[in-house]
Symmetry: C2
Subunit: 374 residues, 2 copies
Amino acid sequence: MQDARRYHALPSPFPMKRGGQLREACVAYETWGELNPQRDNAVLILTGLSPSAHAASQPQDDPTPGWWEGMLGPGKAIDTARWYVICVNSLGSDKGSTGPASPDPATGRPYRLGFPELSLEDVASAAHSLVQSLGIDRLACLIGCSMGGMSALAYMLLFPGTVDAHISVDTAPQAQPFAIAIRSLQREAIRLDPNWRDGQYSDEHYPETGMAMARKLGVITYRSAMEWNGRFARIRLDSEERDDQPFAREFRVESYLEHHAQRFVRRFDPASYLYLSRASDWFDVAEYGEGSVMQGLARIHLSRALVIGVSTDILFPLEQQQQIAEGLQAAGAEVEFVALDSPQGHDAFLVDIDNYSAAIGGFLGRLARTSSAG
Amino acid sequence: MQDARRYHALPSPFPMKRGGQLREACVAYETWGELNPQRDNAVLILTGLSPSAHAASQPQDDPTPGWWEGMLGPGKAIDTARWYVICVNSLGSDKGSTGPASPDPATGRPYRLGFPELSLEDVASAAHSLVQSLGIDRLACLIGCSMGGMSALAYMLLFPGTVDAHISVDTAPQAQPFAIAIRSLQREAIRLDPNWRDGQYSDEHYPETGMAMARKLGVITYRSAMEWNGRFARIRLDSEERDDQPFAREFRVESYLEHHAQRFVRRFDPASYLYLSRASDWFDVAEYGEGSVMQGLARIHLSRALVIGVSTDILFPLEQQQQIAEGLQAAGAEVEFVALDSPQGHDAFLVDIDNYSAAIGGFLGRLARTSSAG
């Protein structure tokens, strides 16, 4: 069995938006399905902050379920029998793409804080370089989820004419102050961990408590109060699940957070987390529209778009999806706006597969019927 | 000039709900106005987690503005020309009342984690002891804000027949899992600070970063995303307001959080914070109703109640105020339910004085006209 992950070497040097450049950098990616001879059935997925390129299992090479397993595969909403699907690990991440945890070719040691400032525009440029290298001039559809939705907007702003249709999932045209405040606090939790050492942590001295705090705060804002009322209510832990530390965990919701934190802590590079988190704060469509989000969106020309959001999302509130929908429509696209009431909050796109499948599958199905891919 | 703060010595020993007892304990309080000869114009205010008993200035003794200055005074919504108003610092707090920072008479050293487990029922019992000591059998009105709203429910459950009318402000009949998760993370931030030392911190080794993190998370959940969109948007700090640390503050909302954290850090005892925070998680009206909040509320008998909440509150969501209103009404009270749309979130009761004044002043005015206090 082989790993399904492949690597695309970026042009070297690869210039970064905010200054500096990368040498010998790459992005990791996976693909599903076949590119048709016309090369017009390609779908690119840009991910949220932490996922890898492994969006779904690869029967031959990697049967491990992917982070969007329910959405992607033959006969599923993103039908790999029809589309050639590419998922790329964001530049700056640590799942195969070059990021702060990668060795700096100049020193042989991990970049850490020596990595140049990262923006979502750089993430988009790296993804675009990959798409070009696959011989694809124009994507049939660009899908972006969460942070990846912002990267997708950057992609369409930087590379006009390279995307036919777009699916925007639980994202925003810019970070609002509530989201900035949450992410700032997550970064602070990591930076205040004595093991952070300004990025000079090691496996032995690892900012575990900071990462756990950051992840818990993430999970709190990725889900919704409504979901938790039904799921956890005020259920207590059994006595054998408790420890006898003062102020130890007592409610089920507290052990749920701890469980999520421990699953994350050693599986995501702390510096990479900080870089991608800050890139999310920085991104702003308004920079492309003389200070106006709507004018920025007006520069994106698509045939069609599907914009999905969920009313329980506190990190990327529904009004921001509506703004994207209105902006793309004003720019000339035929836009479908789907406002879901899934109780799971921002993470609904990963959990409420039924409703997201219906919206995304329906949109891609209509797209296929009006294109040569149909 | 004298301090307006007075002290009420609690019966010694003072038994605590969850076990243990306090000796030589007291609660700090302030009063405004005059108790009438019938002793039926008393209004008691129970506070949120951090305020002192200094709800408003005292022209003679303490002209410093109080935490509810706009609400309380001659001619204001809580009209001290008409009502005898008492505000008590919660048992377990550090603003004059006995708490974990107070000396344990057995050792002469601060209790810290040797303080017995604290519940909001203990806070209510201490407040009731004070009210009795003032010669008041029955409060004309009991007002509780935020955590104090839960303490007020405890008061009415523990001491039936001692309250005529009630004003419930931005509170809940029990903590929901989202609120528990937030408070758990705040407590964890303090406990993980190396200077926490299981409560053996000192002025030199003080859990400053943990307290700052906890406060920032508090401020994020006390306000609302909507307010911040208007107030901070994506405004950057001026270059002279920035430091050159990696990942330093850059947006105005980040310096706002820092400012609030620094105003709080050395002004609230960390152990006291943990005790009151956990007491808020523990409180549950359903314990008085065989597992049902509505049955618990059914045990509270009032002539009238005003229940106020705000749609932007994510910590004590409006549905919980509605539940209180419905429960008190089902129990026989004449209930007014006021759902505000103030943008300030949970803290609206401290900020949107116009709307809260109108509701509270109107209610108390009608109360006065139908009682001997009128």
